[in-house]
Subunit: 204 residues, 2 copies
């Protein structure tokens, strides 16, 4: 296998991996299909045996990203729902910082068009949200709270996490990329905000 056989064997994965590597270096829209093929060591027409077109390859990339995010969110087994929520927030922010281009791309609405038909990307995204919703519901239960609109509560919770991740990735305001310790500190502050508000007096 050392001398590059005619058949690649696992070109589909290799193309996705090449696209992932390119995404670390440049924005998603300047990724070129021919360059992905080049990186995978294959002619520029070869990808068409594995993906209908460029868009399909990029969508597959987004799908993989969502699957990884889902996997990370679930990779825990803590009994305390608050600890679970902290975990979700932390891995979410860490994922965004580790894969900034994919993070910005995987939420593009145009990826899921046309609407109405079954779409695996939408489904996995929904499952990510459901993991969060269940955790939020568990915290409600542990506090004996009845919430009228769990979706809205979950959306606000997701917003706080998503916003922190987004700003850390892209905010023009931040002079330096944050250190892992700063990230954890911000996620803890976020936890406390969700727990008791942004203006609780037990600020540390």
């Amino acid at each position: 296998v050392a001398q590059a056989p005619y058949h690649h064997g696992n070109l589909r994965s290799a193309l996705l991996e090449a696209a992932r590597a390119l995404a670390l270096e440049q924005p998603i829209d300047s990724i070129m299909l021919r360059e992905v093929a080049r990186r995978a060591g294959v002619s520029h027409a070869a990808p068409y045996h594995h993906f209908a077109d460029k868009r399909a390859l990029l969508k597959a990339l987004a799908l993989e990203a969502f699957k990884e995010l889902l996997h990370l969110s679930q990779a825990q087994n803590q009994p305390d729902p608050k600890a679970r929520l902290h975990h979700i927030g932390l891995v979410y922010v860490q994922f965004a910082l580790a894969h900034p281009t994919e993070f910005g791309f995987m939420f593009r609405k145009s990826l899921c068009e046309p609407k109405g038909v079954y779409d695996e990307l939408t489904e996995v995204a929904n499952r990510c949200f459901e993991v969060l919703l269940k955790t939020v519901a568990a915290i409600n239960a542990s506090k004996g709270i009845e919430v009228q609109d769990l979706q809205a509560q979950g959306l606000v919770c997701w917003s706080a996490i998503h916003g922190l991740a987004s700003l850390l990735v892209e905010a023009p305001v931040l002079p330096e990329p944050p250190t892992p310790a700063q990230i954890e500190g911000l996620v803890y502050l976020l936890d406390r905000t969700l727990e008791s508000g942004l203006f609780a007096s037990n600020q540390r």
Copy 2:
């Protein structure tokens, strides 16, 4: 002036306006300079008398967007700092929904490169953040709270607002675009979360 004079008169503004209109129809990276010129009723070389290149035009578009956001944030005169924060959150989300393409684009880090030199976009973005910071600080003061890291507190606050705006614009999870009433409801829920946490028992 009815018969299209040779000199346009205010082509720079007209080009930005054309770009803004195009941004309502398509993602930022598929906006083409030649089409912007076409929309402005001018030859495709004319923009080069007003912008160094395509990137400069798009950056000017982002700058205008930030200026409008700053203006909206400041367009109020409420004595209660909590009311001011609510206003900021509301106009932020409304702006994002009204200008989704620019909203996604104006935060791109690459817009502010090369770093180090003075950059008007960075400055206006910072001023937006400062409006928020001052409001948060005023709420702290009204509560007699001393905060160790105002920047972090402000960043978390901004995250919550920014995240809600981002998700409402782009989330693949939401089946329908939200109504104005839903938006206000979510911003109120956000307010209450910042005030007393996501799990306060006074859920309505």
